[in-house]
Structure formats: structure tokens, C-alpha cells
């Protein structure tokens, strides 16, 4: 029996389920861009490629030699970055916001932690 209090949750649940099913059906009917590396997540791939047999010391070292595959990746990403100046401007703005506010967020969090514990 559905609790009346949670009726809105189940309404949302069915609405979003319907959206998901419609999207999947639409993609099934017209599969535009099927990806090939489907079964691995980004982190599991990155762990397999870079993190196996690494120590904490390795994490803090700047990598001196980047192999050819990674060079290709960098070149490709540079090309993508140069594709549009709008993307580049957007990248600069978002980077400035994130790295400008990050120390303030960490500082503020420490202050709040101290105040809340007291």
C-alpha cells in the first residue's frame, strides 16, 4: 500500500521512468552514435591505464615523460580547444571561478566546522 504522504514521490518516479523509457526507445529506433567502449567507466579505465602498481609518492610526482598515446590525446584536445573562441573564453571563466573560489570555500568550511563544533 502506497503511503499517501509519499504520493508525490511515486508521481515523480513514474514521470521520470516514462522519460527514460521514451529516450531509450527513441535511441533504439534511431541509433545515431553507438559507442564502442561501452562496458567500462571512465575511472576504471583510468585506473587500468595509469594507477596500477602506483604508490602515494607517484601521485605527487609530476610525470616527466608522456608517452606517444598521451601526446596524441593532448594534440586532439588542443585542436578541440582551438575549435571555438567561445569555448575557450567559457573555459577561462569557469576555471577562474572554480580556482578563485576554491581556497575561500575551503577556508569558509574550516571556519564553519570550528563554529559548529563549539
Amino acid at each position: 500500500m502506497i503511503n499517501k504522504k509519499n504520493l508525490n514521490y511515486w508521481r515523480l518516479f513514474f514521470i521520470f521512468s516514462a522519460f527514460t523509457i521514451i529516450t531509450l526507445l527513441a535511441l533504439w529506433v534511431s541509433p545515431v552514435g553507438k559507442a564502442t567502449m561501452m562496458n567500462k567507466s571512465m575511472s576504471s579505465m583510468a585506473i587500468g591505464m595509469h594507477l596500477e602498481n602506483s604508490t602515494v609518492y607517484d601521485l605527487l610526482q609530476k610525470e616527466e615523460s608522456i608517452n606517444s598515446d598521451q601526446n596524441i590525446t593532448k594534440e586532439t584536445s588542443n585542436q578541440v580547444n582551438e575549435d571555438s573562441s567561445e569555448t575557450k573564453t567559457l573555459g577561462i571563466i569557469t576555471t577562474v571561478i572554480i580556482f578563485g573560489l576554491l581556497p575561500l570555500i575551503l577556508g569558509g568550511s574550516i571556519i564553519l566546522a570550528i563554529v559548529w563544533i563549539k
Binding site: K5, N6, L7, N8, Y9, L12, T23, L24, L27, V32, G33, K34, A35, T36, M37, M38, N39, K40, S41, M42, S43, A46, I47, M49, H50, L51, S54, D58, L59, L60, Q61, K62, E63, Q70, V80, T87, L90, G91, I93, T94, T95, I97, I98, F99, L101, L102, L104, I105, L106, G108, S109, I111, L112, V115, W116
Partner: protein, 159 residues
């Protein structure tokens, strides 16, 4: 409109940004989730970056607001606020900080340290799963609040 509360507004702006981050982020995690954004990974990446900046901005505003409240000795409870000293507000605050820090590490390490990048990606991904589960639970527990208040019937005879 004049009764609109700051914590209520911040809550819903945060919810919209969070939803956009979740959709773009989970579609970036793995190709098998790419259907969420029609396999347009470039667009997903851009949406995620823009909303990440907005997420950082709104977290910063919330922290400043909370610090100012403490300075003014304002101890009123803010049930809609996104951060707080206990319960789901505290959990959300910690998860947000972890996502911001691991996200910033991904941003930096992309250029020079692939080992740290792999670690940051893993932390970011698994915390996202925890955050998603917690948000579903949060919606389950709180959706009854979404019921629109019914207007009281006006008794014409009393006029």
C-alpha cells in the same frame, strides 16, 4: 513574491544545477550511459564544466551566508538551506566539498599527472553514486512538502 525566502531560492537553484551536473556527469562516466545526453559527449562536457562553476559559486554563497548568520548570532532554523550543522544538510555539505575538491583535481591533473587524475576520477565517480542515492532518498522523504497548499474555502455567508 515578497515572502520568497533566501534558503528556499538557494535550495531550488542548487537542485537545478545538481540535476544538470548529474545528467551530464553520469553520461560522461561511461559510454553506456551516453544515451542520457544523446551520445553528444562534447555537449555533456561543456554543460558539466559550466554547471560545475555555478555549483562552486552557489556553495561559496551558502558558506558566506552561513558564516554571516553565525557572526550575527542568528540561530533560526533554515529547513530549506543546502548546508547546515546536522542531518542531511551536513551530509550534503560534506559531499559537495568532496565533489568540488575531486572535480578540481580532475581539472588540474588532466594536464600533467595521470595517476592522480585516475584517483580523483575514481573518488569523484563513487561519491557521485553515493550523492545520487542520497538525493533519491531525500526526495522520497520530502516530496510531501511539494503539495500545493489548498486555499481555504471562503464562507460567503460570513461576509
Amino acid at each position: 513574491m515578497k515572502n520568497l525566502r533566501f534558503d528556499f531560492v538557494i535550495h531550488w537553484i542548487y537542485a537545478i544545477i545538481w540535476a544538470l551536473l548529474a545528467i551530464s556527469g553520469f553520461s560522461l562516466i561511461s559510454a553506456k550511459f551516453g544515451w542520457m545526453i544523446g551520445f553528444d559527449f562534447k555537449m555533456a562536457d561543456m554543460i558539466h564544466r559550466i554547471n560545475a562553476a555555478l555549483f562552486v559559486l552557489i556553495t561559496f554563497i551558502s558558506i558566506i551566508y552561513e558564516v554571516i548568520r553565525k557572526i550575527k548570532n542568528d540561530d533560526k532554523t533554515k529547513p530549506w538551506f543546502i548546508i547546515g550543522r546536522s542531518g542531511y544538510q551536513l551530509f550534503n555539505f560534506i559531499v559537495s566539498l568532496l565533489l568540488i575538491v575531486s572535480g578540481a583535481l580532475i581539472w588540474i591533473c588532466m594536464e600533467f599527472n595521470f595517476k592522480a587524475l585516475a584517483l580523483a576520477l575514481t573518488v569523484h565517480e563513487y561519491i557521485s553514486y553515493v550523492a545520487l542515492g542520497s538525493v533519491i532518498w531525500h526526495i522520497y522523504k520530502k516530496t510531501h512538502i511539494l503539495a500545493w497548499p489548498k486555499k481555504k474555502a471562503v464562507n460567503i455567508n460570513n461576509k
